[in-house]
């Protein structure tokens, strides 16, 4: 126990902390400028000076550790004079353009000078000049205002780990600059903006459009872009979002956001938002009233149900919509229409992967805390770049590396490049062989624990590749040995699984192998999630074979329980998956499709085929916020509310349930209605008697129906404590029944002359929404084809030149960007630009065992466009 006295107050401390920290515990706030909680102390500004008895000089309290018996004073005349002098020095070069500075009103320097003076400076010479930089579309930097606290540099290096900025020059010519001296060319997370105490690094999005005191209310919500589910605060003025900012004390993201979360929100104010329902009349979409649209949909659905039965109707749920929205859609399709045909784009990889892993290891196997990754001593990353798909989770992996964790990537490491111990880069589609070899080596000389007999039985019959088998992969047996031994040596390890290892042939084998590795080294599994609520979609029962709470629909016991709770009936057999629905639409078995917040024409490969299939339907209803590609061919389009306009919950990839809150309302908010509400209105036309007035009513019902969510009220969720397994009942004892493709053989990897077209997952765009955000578009304005310099040389295609890529599905022409991290034999294209989707050129079928998207026939011809 350490006892110190600060300003006459006795403070007792369990562990030694800094004097600044100790003072804070005693309720004494010492002024600071370069200190920022969470960043390594720097001790550079000297504002936090304090007097310590027996020490001759004033001390910086942010770096001085407490010692037993210390007597500290924090506000003596001597200290005040010292602070005043420090500030006077800072003001020598500070432009004092407060009337013109967006920071005024929340500026630490301004506040400190107001408190300690000086009223006037004595320095008569001119101030240094350094032109404001507008090189970047979303960040503006004004280095004349910089006080060199280095908070931004420490943020960028220590927490974001992007290492994009540095203090350059020296003395009064020191400025914080990116390498280029102009554009940042960084990850644009904006976390440096959060920490800058003055107006030196600012957002351009709202430049000179507000003053900090214009903020009328602050809404705590979670980000609507990806499955990490970062907490954020929307600062509102009337109905406009002024800023999206993180709060260090709220959420597990601890004050960090990524570029999409911080800058991407603008799409909700885009003019392209739908304002009224539309109905196809004489081939064209015409504006109609809500009443007309809903009456029409109800009538047509009834007719189709009467003529063909409920099973001729299907629905697509949405990873962008709330749990409440998805629950209601599920209820409507299953219990009102009488069809289990409900699925979502989670089918691409997320849902089948999780369901499959759960069938091996039990429910909740992927529900692990993201914040634990930083403390793990090893991470295996397979199938995608976490720093692009789930950026804040990616930062956790970087943090693990920083504290000595060993990060191993199978495939291109992307944003983890600087943070991997090494990467294994197998030839395209030979990952399965590499994973089998790793498992083989892990098994060698290791007694199996007997904990999971089903897994171990399968491991015994697994074909382990010989050195000769390995040749085709391009990975040496030594590399396998090293990776396996490193994995085996990890005590608290993590396996991160991304989409690319699942959306392919023999996905079950890849997942089994990854599961087996995790089993053998006792690792926690994380499944990357591209949408904010893929997990919620699943938990709400938007799956053809599972009811809310992850209960199998075909097991009578579970079905009856839910049927009893609702007083309604659901069909007994499993329904159609997303891809089966498209097939059935193609062949005429499916007659009507209700699409909520999803854009299959853009997000599923082979767009031409999908378009034709959907065109066959007798009724296509699309509920969305914009007129998407799919909405464009619908019979009825219903405008929904966007993410900051609704109340509800999302469930993130670690299965944390979090509150989404309404920030915009009233006449400037869009004219849409909440998704759940629209569906409930239609269900009422079918005689559904239960009335829902508020979103809480929907959640009440979910708590009642889903065994997982029992007893989990909105209040508990708001506390941020809604972490798996909540207080509900996870499903136990169902695991152990699974099959694996090709356990006893190895895939036939063939050399393709033409490169494979793969989907680039960009940090700056993630799909339909991001392409309507001006800020994100300004960073990454047009699509390009990423190719390896080797290929570029072969084709005589230089950076910036136009390439034509083609196959039997179509042709695209776009600019080339060289990237030596793209494997030879592949080209990458982002699927996030209007009219330039990568998916159009990709063929697909579905994986036979797990039913995920199976990308195939994706080779393309690449040639130079001669101008």
């Amino acid at each position: 126990m350490i006892k110190v006295t600060i300003d006459g107050r006795d403070v007792e401390l369990e562990n030694p902390v800094t004097v600044l920290e100790a003072a804070k515990q005693a309720g004494i706030i010492i002024p600071t400028l370069c200190y920022f909680e969470g960043l390594t102390p720097f001790g550079g500004c000297r504002l936090c000076l304090v007097e310590v008895e027996k020490l001759p000089k004033l001390q910086t309290s942010c770096t001085l550790m407490t010692a037993d018996g210390m007597v500290v004073r924090t506000e003596t005349d001597q200290i005040k004079a010292a602070r005043r002098s420090v500030l006077e020095f800072l003001l020598i070069n500070h432009p004092l353009d407060c009337p013109f500075c967006d920071k005024a009103g929340e500026c630490d320097l301004q506040d400190l000078v107001a408190r300690y003076g000086p009223e006037a400076g004595r320095f008569a010479e001119g101030k240094r000049r350094h032109p404001e930089s507008f090189d970047d579309p979303i960040i503006v930097r004004n280095m004349e205002r910089c006080v060199l606290c280095t908070r931004c540099v420490r943020m960028c290096n220590d927490l974001q780990a992007s290492y994009s900025i540095s203090v350059t020059g020296r003395g009064s010519h020191s400025f914080v600059e990116p390498f280029s001296g102009g554009k940042y060319n960084c990850e644009y997370c904006g976390n440096c903006l959060t920490v800058c105490p003055v107006g030196a690094i600012m957002s351009r999005l709202h430049r000179h459009t507000y003053r900090p005191w214009f903020v009328e209310k602050e809404i705590e919500t979670v980000c609507g872009f990806c499955g990490v589910g970062c907490s954020m605060v929307l600062q509102m003025r009337e109905n406009s979002i002024i800023r999206a900012i993180p709060r260090a004390e709220v959420g597990f993201n601890k004050g960090l956001l990524c570029v999409r979360g911080r800058f991407g929100y603008e799409y909700v104010e885009s003019e392209a938002q739908l304002t009224t329902p539309l109905m196809r009349v004489d081939g064209e979409l015409k504006q109609v009233s809500w009443e007309e649209a809903i009456t029409f949909i109800a009538r047509r659905l009834k007719e189709i149900k009467d003529a063909f039965g409920g099973r001729a109707i299907g629905a697509i749920a949405s990873g962008r919509c709330t749990n409440e929205d998805n629950y209601m859609l599920q209820k409507f399709i299953r219990f009102v229409i009488g069809s289990n045909n409900i699925d979502s784009s989670a089918r691409n990889y997320y849902a089948p992967a999780e369901t499959y892993l759960e069938s091996i290891f039990g429910q909740g196997i992927t529900a692990n805390l993201i914040s634990g990754i930083a403390n793990s001593d090893g991470v295996l990353v397979v199938g995608g770049d976490p720093t692009a798909i789930n950026p804040i989770l990616g930062l956790q992996i970087r943090a693990s590396w920083r504290s000595g964790g060993k990060v191993i990537a199978l495939g291109a490491p992307g944003g983890l490049k600087r943070f991997v111990a090494y990467e294994l880069m197998p030839t395209p589609y030979s990952e399965e062989i590499v994973l089998s070899a790793i498992v083989g080596r892990l098994l060698k000389g290791k007694a199996l624990s007997g904990e999971n007999t089903a897994v171990e039985a399968k491991l015994r019959s697994l074909r382990i590749p010989s050195d000769e088998d390995m040749e085709v992969t391009g990975i040496s047996p030594e590399d396998i040995a090293r990776a396996s031994d490193d994995l085996a040596g990890m005590a608290t390890s993590v396996v991160v699984i991304g989409p690319d290892i699942i959306q392919r042939e023999r996905a079950s084998k890849n997942l089994f192998l990854l599961g087996a590795i995790a089993y053998l080294i006792n690792a926690r599994i994380f499944l990357l999630s591209e949408r904010p609520n893929y997990q919620g979609v699943m938990d709400m029962g938007c799956l053809p074979d599972f009811l809310p709470g992850g209960r199998p629909v075909e097991l009578e016991m579970f079905r009856h329980k839910i049927e009893d709770a609702l007083g309604m009936k659901a069909p007994e057999d499993r329904g159609l998956t997303l891809f089966e629905m498209i097939n059935e639409a193609e062949t005429g078995g499916l007659k009507a499709l209700y699409v909520m917040g999803e854009n299959p024409l853009f997000n599923i490969p082979d767009s031409a085929r999908v378009k034709k299939a959907l065109g066959n339907l007798e009724l296509l209803v699309v509920q969305d916020i914009h007129l998407t590609e799919t909405a464009g061919i619908a019979d009825v389009v219903l405008p929904a509310t966007a993410w900051p306009e609704k109340e509800g919950t999302f469930t993130n990839l670690e299965r944390r349930v979090q509150r989404v809150r309404k920030a915009r309302r009233g006449k400037l908010a869009s004219y849409g209605r909440d998704d759940w509400k629209i569906i409930a209105d239609i269900a009422e036309r079918f005689g559904m008697t239960r009335k829902y007035h508020r979103v809480e009513d929907v959640w009440e019902e979910i708590m009642h129906v889903s065994a997982l969510h029992a007893g989990l009220g909105y209040e508990d969720i708001a506390d941020g404590k809604a972490v798996w397994p909540y207080s509900g009942e996870p499903l136990r004892g169902m695991e152990g029944d699974f099959s694996v493709e090709g356990l006893e053989d190895l895939p036939h990897v063939q050399d393709s002359e033409k490169p494979y077209l793969m989907i680039e997952r960009s940090l700056y765009h993630s799909g339909t929404f991001s392409r309507r955000s001006k800020a994100l578009l300004s960073i990454y304005p047009e699509p390009y084809l990423m190719i390896n310099p080797v290929l570029s040389e072969r084709l005589g295609l230089a950076e910036g030149e136009k390439a034509r890529i083609s196959n039997e599905r179509g042709v695209l022409e776009l600019k080339v960007k060289l990237n030596k991290d793209v494997p030879d034999g592949q080209v990458l294209l982002s699927n996030t630009f209007e009219g330039f989707g990568a998916m159009g050129l990709i063929g697909f079928s579905t994986g036979p065992v797990i039913g995920s998207l199976y990308i195939r026939d994706n080779t393309v011809r690449v040639e130079k466009v001669l101008v």
């Binding site: 290096n157 290492y163 994009s164 900025i165 540095s166 203090v167 350059t168 020059g169 020296r170 600059e177 990116p178 390498f179 280029s180 600087r418």
Partner: protein, 151 residues
């Protein structure tokens, strides 16, 4: 040897890559006479250090040059002792004789002139460095003789 290889070889001598940064920057500077953005990129990739970090360090020290320099670099001291002993008239002299301004480079790319603060040779002022050679007790007479040695 390519500077990339040379820098790589250098890392062997240091406990970590960061430690090799200053000597690595010297290697790159010697190669081209100054540190261009491209040179900094090379150093960054050879040492696998972030580009911004390399730039921050390179711009902190005055011995690294960030614009093209003449073949020979004259670093002339004009601080107190040298000033009293006539360094300022040497500056004027160089301007007259070679058209060389402080901070500038001669038209033929032969010399660049940088004005230094005390280089620690006050007892033999005025003093200068030409490249890495030290010269003291300068006068208008001997400075020409000295400089003519450098082509």
């Amino acid at each position: 040897m390519d500077i990339f290889e040379e820098i790589r070889a250098l890392t062997e001598k240091y406990p970590d890559r960061r430690g090799a940064l200053l000597p690595a920057l010297y290697i790159a500077q010697e190669d081209a006479g100054w540190l261009s953005q491209e040179a900094l990129e090379r150093v960054s990739s050879a040492l696998n250090l972030p580009q911004a970090t390399v730039k921050g360090v390179a711009t902190f020290y005055s011995m690294y040059k960030h614009r093209p320099m003449g073949r020979h670099l004259i670093q002339l001291c004009t601080n107190v002792a040298c000033m009293i002993m006539g360094a300022e008239s040497l500056v004027d002299f160089l301007k007259g004789k070679y058209g060389l301004e402080p901070g500038g480079t001669t038209g033929d790319g032969r010399f660049s002139l940088v004005i230094m603060e005390c280089i620690g040779a006050c007892d033999r002022a005025p003093a200068m460095l030409v490249d890495t050679d030290f010269h003291s007790d300068l006068t208008e007479g001997n400075i020409v003789e000295i400089l003519e040695e450098y082509e």
